[in-house]
Symmetry: C2
Subunit: 132 residues, 2 copies
Amino acid sequence: MEHDVDDQEVLAANRAFYAAFEAGDMDAMSDVWEHTERVVCTHPGWSTLRGWASVASSWFALFHNGQHLQFIVTAEQATVAGDVAWVTCDENILAGDGASGGTVAALNLFVREGAGAWRLVGHHGSPVAPAT
Amino acid sequence: MEHDVDDQEVLAANRAFYAAFEAGDMDAMSDVWEHTERVVCTHPGWSTLRGWASVASSWFALFHNGQHLQFIVTAEQATVAGDVAWVTCDENILAGDGASGGTVAALNLFVREGAGAWRLVGHHGSPVAPAT
């Protein structure tokens, strides 16, 4: 049962990440992440960013470029291993007219703080090529 | 110092993964991975594969499609958190004539077994768009 509780906590942290992302809310995004040098973030098509300063700058830039993304997150699967957890999910992006704007496959990595909160330490998103 | 030893062990496991990849050696690739349902693998442009059976099938297919990849792995950075570790690195792919064939940004996730060996439980690779 404890395992289930952990999974639910991690999935809640994952949802908080996507809520901040969709809202373009820099304060909420800042709360989601661990503020350390060890965090890593790879946006689709980007090189890997390392350290909270670089990662925070990238979200700030994304939130201020006028692009507002909406998506439906599906296929969430959480795995907890001690105080580390990873979630895989699909970010199904909605285009402005509600049509499909493609899918991004994501791997999100969380670490449990001493106080029990799960913080994001890694995000890797990559575009899924359309089926041919 | 122990932290450094852990980092070195994880980087060695990461190198074993790329050695198996370059050699197209299914036995070596099988040794690198944990054989469980919780493993995840996202090849560039692919949807996320879950579970060792699916992941193993994908490597078998990649190794038997006649495509032989060679690459230079750079920017390896390992972080150890208890019995879980993650490595980010760049896979700089060499084209047949030795020219650059593009770069894949990778996030590799390892878990330490009871016996002390690090096994791969997650691989996510995505193409880095050329700088414009």
